[in-house]
């Protein structure tokens, strides 16, 4: 498997990273070099070890689904940029149309 400039553009879009075109070649080269070392894993036969380990592991402990006090060191009003009716307000980012165009 070899990483192409289009692959890097694609994952950069998925990761919401604006990579300048001038830096693409460098990332393509580096990712190919790193992933080349990962090919060694294909030598290990599939064993089902991960599934067996998962099955043996106890499930994650869950706490009660109850609202408790927030363990904050100062009230939200002190660090929130703006608060209304208990909700954080952030600057308006985009209209629905903008978000639809960029997605």
């Amino acid at each position: 498997m070899s990483v192409t400039p289009d692959d890097v553009r694609h994952v950069a879009t998925l990761a919401r990273l604006s990579i300048p075109e001038g830096e693409l070649a460098s990332y393509v080269e580096q990712l190919n070099a790193i992933l080349g070392h990962m090919e060694a894993l294909q030598q290990v036969p599939s064993s089902g070890a991960a599934a067996a380990a998962d099955a043996a592991r106890p499930g994650m402990a869950l706490r009660a689904d109850a609202v408790g006090p927030m363990p904050l060191t100062r009230p939200a009003a002190e660090f929130a940029p703006e608060l209304r009716d208990g909700f954080f307000l952030v600057p308006r980012l985009a209209t629905h149309e903008d978000a639809g165009e960029g997605a």
Partner: protein
């Protein structure tokens, strides 16, 4: 400043303050004087990047415990109340957490004073503390060299005598490796032993809060204090915390395994000789030395550098210009995300996010991520099998070489290889400790003791005995 004061251990300093022999204010002054002295000039250590103010009550002790009045330094990815928590990244420039990490609170409840936040590779991604928005930290033993990483600032602060104890974090060796490079002790506790609440997430299945000390006893004391179940971290273990300050003693009945994969023919001969001397010291204390094999060790670096970036790519999605830190104002929400993240993250973080997103993406998930999970389970099984065969602890070098020069390693994969002996413990979730065992050309070399999950007492038993047996030899 009394240099001899800072040469005492944390346990001794805490006792002196509790018994009224030393005022806590005198300790703090000595620590801040030492900080100023070591950070002056063009080759200053650059270990502390956010320094506490004299009137910052939020960093003061909450009680008078075993660390009464003891200055401690905290890695910049652990949440503190008034000092910034910036992970060495531009994207979190100036950000102050609205809550405090459990491990930091526990240190303050034990009496510690937080003197500052320490430099680190951005978001803990690195092995040299060169990849920080604050510039590189320097190794106190040779300022042209790296202190290791990613917790290099904490390691340098302890090695330079600024604080006897510091907190770092481990994902693949980020405390044991800098401890080895700086000639101090670093502990990676069992996964789940210490709460991760307030530790900025890098790779959640691997991350641990991990302490440094100048002696095994201080490292054991710090580990004991920060351990314990925390309902605020769903991965925190419910296990009772055992006594970890077991002290030096004979090792009769202890079987020490020596994994042959950690001593390849290519290992630097001087490092091998120092390890052989350490093994001889363990034998002289009564331990039985046995060669063992951990056959999947050669796959550890590829496995780690698939799993850790994959988890990081998801964890770092939260830094989007909306909720934390900086934002680049451009038209359109998608463009804002991309521009903010591109400007806020450094090259290594960007590289790992791209790598992690790639190995999780459609068409590559099975070949990379699922395969890595399979092999990770085999690496963990190697340890389970060897400990089940009657081996109590394992001994290895911590790193293949002593500290490298700043700027010496530019190839990303070559840098990744400096974690080759430490990542396995993170992948398997077991505890490990690095302690000084000698020097090569004046530079410290670390030896590593690994133990079964939740058996820190046996790990410390071997480390205390080795430290005592080597004595001054460990530092020359």
């Amino acid at each position: 400043m009394s240099r001899s004061l800072l040469d005492l251990t944390a346990a001794q300093l805490g006792a002196a303050v509790r018994e009224g022999r030393t005022p806590a204010g005198e300790l703090l002054t000595a620590s801040l004087d030492r900080l100023a002295e070591t950070h002056a000039g063009n080759d200053g250590l650059n270990a502390i990047v956010h320094q506490v103010g004299a009137d910052d009550s939020a960093m003061q002790p909450l009680a008078m415990g075993p660390l009464a009045g003891v200055p401690v330094a905290i890695k910049d990815n652990l949440a503190t109340r008034t000092l910034p928590t910036t992970c060495g990244s531009r994207i979190l420039d100036g950000w102050v957490s609205p809550y405090e990490a459990t491990a930091v609170r526990k240190l303050r409840e034990a009496g510690a004073i937080v003197i500052g936040k320490t430099n680190m590779d951005e978001f803990a991604m690195g092995s040299s503390t060169e990849h920080s928005a604050f510039g590189p930290s320097r190794n106190p033993h040779d300022r042209r060299r790296a202190p290791g990483g990613s917790s290099g600032g904490s390691a340098a602060a302890v090695a330079a005598g600024i604080a006897p104890i510091a907190l770092g974090s481990e994902t693949g060796g980020s405390v044991r490796q800098p401890a080895a490079f700086c000639g101090i002790v670093g502990v990676k506790p069992t996964y789940g032993r210490v709460s991760r609440y307030g530790l900025v997430a890098f790779a959640s299945s691997l991350d641990c809060v991990a302490p440094f000390g100048r002696t095994v006893d201080d490292a054991a004391l710090a580990t004991e204090i920060i351990s314990g179940h925390d309902p605020l971290d769903a991965t925190s273990a419910a296990h009772t915390v055992p006594a970890m300050r077991v002290g030096p003693g004979p090792l009769a009945g202890l079987v020490v395994g020596v994994p042959k994969e950690y001593f390849p023919d290519s290992l630097m001969p001087e490092v091998r000789a120092i390890c052989d001397r350490a093994l001889e010291a363990l034998r002289a204390q009564g331990a039985t030395i046995r060669e063992v094999s951990l056959p999947h060790t050669p796959y550890a670096i590829p496995v780690y550098y698939i799993i850790a970036p994959a988890e990081a790519s998801a964890n770092l999605a939260r830094f989007d210009g909306v909720r934390y830190g900086m934002r680049i104002e451009v038209d359109g929400v998608q463009a804002m995300y991309g521009a903010t993240r591109a400007a806020g993250f450094g090259a290594e973080v960007t590289r790992r996010i791209l790598l992690g997103t790639y190995v999780l993406s459609a068409g590559y998930y099975d070949a990379y991520y699922r395969k890595a999970q399979e092999v990770r389970a085999l690496i963990a099984r190697d340890f389970t099998d060897v400990f089940a065969s009657g081996v109590h602890v394992l001994f290895t070098p911590t790193t293949p070489t002593p500290a490298f020069a700043l700027g010496a390693i530019s190839d990303p994969y070559e840098m990744y290889l400096s974690d080759i002996y430490t990542v396995t413990a993170n992948l398997a979730g077991i505890p490990g400790i690095s302690l000084p065992i000698g020097r090569v050309h004046g530079l410290p070399v670390g030896g590593q003791v690994l133990a079964p999950a939740f058996d820190e007492p046996t790990m410390f038993r071997a480390a205390y005995a080795l430290e005592e047996a080597l004595g001054a030899e460990a530092h020359r």
